[in-house]
């Protein structure tokens, strides 16, 4: 945990407070102005009333040009950023035809599979011609092809579990799997800084949700002890089951999960571990197999391993890996498997090919080279930033590097200065 110097904390609160006051003053004049003009709502309640979109209107719109910048090439190491301009004080942005070549420090292209690759792309195009871009049906109806079967075997093999199931979107994987695994009468203990997809899946399940302090196994133990002893709220009946949700690498902080300690705590209290390896699969570990390999945790100790293919594999989609029975159960009950269109065949082929490259099965040493390069690059960048005096959070070997700016005014200043120097970060 980082201790913020008092001066930074005070100045940050002061800046937010000032923006808050300015925002309310402008809203006050806007209300007076609107009073004299008729509204075109015709009796409907407004989509956002009053303070609901205060943050968007008065904070976010001021610096909107720093977010959502369009690019006109593949998100490779160097990419082309499209310039935008605004005529109405940043409320709407229009594209121009001017582009600038910039260094990409912001995309999730950990292993460089984002652009056309010499091994993957020809195979992807061949698959496209054979299977077409979509199967137009869910997996159970007519959306399972030989490619999907091959993909699931390949993923299970890579991750180190007996079986795997693949979905077309990483977000939907969490949102559709958690409600199936746990329901009312169960307890979900989730890390305080978990991703929105995990939170949505947990809420959609109907189980009771409790939060433990970020990456603190001792607090997790306390929470588990207290809740097992107390039982369900009001009735005090024993819980049906307990699932602990953690991530391999936290996407905003860049911290590695303290997996060995958390798995030990969960084993002791008979809770199930659900590990979301969205950012760590393919990017950390000696052979790219994720945090389990990096931290020396046996994959059999983690009950459900989830991950996405958007980051290291340069594709789209998500997977769940676990025991054969778990995967059979998910194939029978998961809504994303039963109702949603199966993953696009070219995307599936990209994943299969990139796994082959990472494991070295394509005959070249490119996979090992890519893994060594991302490790060296992230460690070098992190140590150099620390030498320059930046406050960098996150652990060594993690490809996500976060610099603390604190003050809201520094966000657009940093972003626009980087733009001038042709560097892209976020």
């Amino acid at each position: 945990m980082i201790k913020i110097p008092y001066f930074s904390a005070l100045s940050t609160y002061f800046s937010f407070g000032l923006l808050f006051v300015f925002g309310h003053v402008r809203d006050f004049f806007r209300n007076i102005f609107d009073f004299f003009h008729s509204s075109n709502l015709q009796g409907y309640a407004p989509i956002c009333s009053g303070q609901e979109d205060f943050y968007v209107r008065r904070y976010y719109h001021r610096i909107q040009d720093c977010f959502g910048r369009p690019i006109s090439s593949a998100p490779d190491v160097w990419f082309d950023i499209v310039h935008r301009y605004s005529n109405d004080n940043n409320k709407t942005m229009k594209r121009t035809s001017k582009v600038t070549r910039c260094l990409n420090l912001g995309s999730y292209n950990y292993l460089g599979f984002a652009a056309a690759d010499e091994y993957c792309t020809p195979r992807v195009i061949e698959t496209l011609n054979r299977f077409s871009p979509s199967t137009c049906s869910p997996r159970v109806d007519g959306g399972t092809t030989t490619l999907h079967k091959e993909l699931e075997e390949s993923v299970a093999n890579f991750v180190g579990k007996p079986a795997a199931i693949v979905f077309g979107m990483g977000y939907a994987t969490n949102a559709a799997t958690l409600p199936v695994l746990i329901g009312k009468g169960g307890l979900i203990v989730s890390d305080s800084l978990n991703h929105s997809s995990i939170i949505n899946g947990a809420r959609g399940s109907g189980a009771t949700i409790r939060v433990f302090q970020h990456n603190t196994p001792s607090h997790l133990e306390e929470v588990l002890r207290q809740h097992i002893a107390e039982g369900q709220p009001r009735t005090h009946r024993p819980w049906k089951k307990i699932v602990v949700l953690v991530e391999g690498i936290y996407s905003m902080e860049g911290e590695l999960c303290k997996l060995p300690e958390i798995v030990a705590v969960c084993k002791k209290y008979k809770a199930y571990v659900y590990l979301d390896e969205a950012h760590s699969i393919g990017a950390v570990g000696q052979t790219g197999k994720g945090v389990c390999e990096l931290l020396g945790v046996d994959t059999a100790d983690v009950d459900v391993m989830m991950g996405t293919f958007t980051k290291s594999f340069g594709s789209c989609g998500g997977y769940i890996a676990g025991s054969k029975e778990l995967i059979q159960y998910l194939q029978y009950t998961s809504p994303a498997h039963l109702y949603a269109t199966s993953i696009s065949p070219p995307a599936a082929q990209q994943i299969i090919s990139s796994i082959r490259v990472i494991l070295g099965e394509d005959g070249s040493g490119r996979g090992a080279e890519k893994l060594a390069r991302i490790r060296e690059n992230s460690n070098f960048f992190r140590s150099e930033l620390q030498k320059m005096g930046f406050e960098v959070i996150g652990d060594y070997d993690s490809p996500v590097i976060s610099i603390m700016l604190y003050n809201p005014a520094k966000i657009p200043a940093f972003s626009r200065e980087c733009l001038k120097q042709n560097v892209r970060s976020y």
Binding site: N129, G142, A175, A340
Partner: protein, 374 residues
């Protein structure tokens, strides 16, 4: 859920800090209070760690309870029907497919217009794959917005005649992200009983007040709206929505949109229409149910592109206000990687093909009538 005792301890700690500062700086009452607030703000992150385990009795008691507790297994036992294996295709899911080496007629895919295997689509996909690779490697807010996404959104908006549209990377996530974005706690949603899982999940996540009406029954809808609006004065200040599907995924029935629009205007509700199965299949050049019935624009229209358009993903279209709101509040849009660029290119090409060949829709209608007769 914290016990009362725990709350008391925590409040006591805070009160002590507050009183200390109040006494120390009490020359002007206002200054003392603002300094206390500042102190609390700066130390808000310091959690009440050690208290919780000490409060609840002895460690041995808790150890005993933890040892006694036996959880259920993560999944229920596997029954006979669970290991069912669906048929595995060895070719594209076109009108004819190959399963186990045999040619079969494919009635299972939602390939309404036969766009699977269309040469123009394959061509545009190939050039997009060579230029952009497969994935977009980022969410829309952080360098995942590629120019083809913006072009695709503009094309869809132009095709449907609306101001703007927004692309989602998965058909199923479109509805379950859009609904919680607009419907918050306290709002009223009137929804058909037979809607698909995506909408049901979105309704559950929105935490609004949900009222069901009988499947595709306009009389039931009218009565429900009447009950909600008349006699409930607060209803006028709340946001009210009717959610229906154009062609129901579960039953195949078409919603009588002209009747729904008439009711919506009478009782002042917004309509959220899911056109996944009607986009590309009904209306002039496949513009959907609004064109089929000849009604004015519906407030929010969503559709999954995995049906008639033969690609993946989904979109939502409506007025600029509606779309702009989703760009920051829709969780499936903000917290997820964007649609792969080759699919966005394919969407533009598919809509071009659809607009240039209205005969595709007539062919679809002929096929449907043949099947009905048989």
């Amino acid at each position: 859920m914290k016990t009362h005792f725990e709350n008391h301890i925590r409040n006591k700690k805070r009160r002590k800090a507050y009183e200390f500062f109040d006494d120390a700086f009490v020359d002007e009452g206002g200054r003392g209070q603002s300094l206390s607030v500042l102190f609390l703000l700066l130390h808000a992150g310091d959690a009440v760690g050690p208290f919780s385990s000490l409060i609840f009795g002895h460690r041995e008691e808790i150890d005993e309870l933890c040892d006694e507790w036996v959880p259920e297994s993560l999944i229920p036992p596997i029954t006979e029907e669970m290991p069912y294996e669906p048929p595995t295709l060895e070719s594209a899911a076109g009108p004819h497919a190959i399963i186990n080496g045999k040619y079969v007629v494919n009635f299972a895919s939602a390939n309404y217009l036969g766009l699977i295997g269309h040469e123009k689509l394959l061509e545009s996909n190939t050039s997009a794959l060579e230029k952009y690779g497969v994935g977009s490697c980022g969410p829309r807010g952080f360098y995942g917005t590629i120019d083809v996404h913006l072009d695709c959104e503009a094309r869809i908006a132009k095709f449907l005649g609306t101001s703007d549209s927004i692309l989602y990377s998965y058909g199923l996530s479109t509805m379950f992200s859009t609904i919680p974005c607009f419907c918050k706690k306290g709002d009223i949603i009137v929804v058909d009983e037979g809607v698909h899982w995506g909408i049901q999940n979105g309704l559950y996540l929105s935490r609004s007040t949900i009222v069901y009406f009988k499947h595709n029954d306009m009389e039931s809808l009218r009565n429900t709206l009447e009950k909600i609006v008349v006699g409930n004065k607060r209803a006028k200040e709340l946001r009210r929505y009717i959610i229906v599907e154009a062609v129901y995924q579960n039953s195949g029935q078409i919603a009588p949109l002209n009747e729904i629009i008439r009711l919506k205007e009478k009782y002042i509700f917004r309509v959220l229409l899911d056109e996944s199965n009607s986009f590309g299949a009904l209306g002039r050049s496949g513009r959907g149910l609004t064109a089929y019935h000849g009604v004015p624009k519906v407030d929010i229209v969503t559709a999954a592109m995995g049906h008639a358009l033969a690609i993946e993903g989904g979109f939502c279209t409506g007025s600029s206000r509606v779309i702009d709101h989703q760009r920051l509040s829709s969780s499936g849009y903000v917290f997820s990687a964007s649609l792969p660029p080759y699919l966005a290119c394919a969407a533009i090409t598919a809509i071009d093909v659809l607009e240039d060949n209205p005969t595709l829709i007539t062919k679809l209608k002929e096929n449907i009538s043949v099947l009905w007769k048989g």
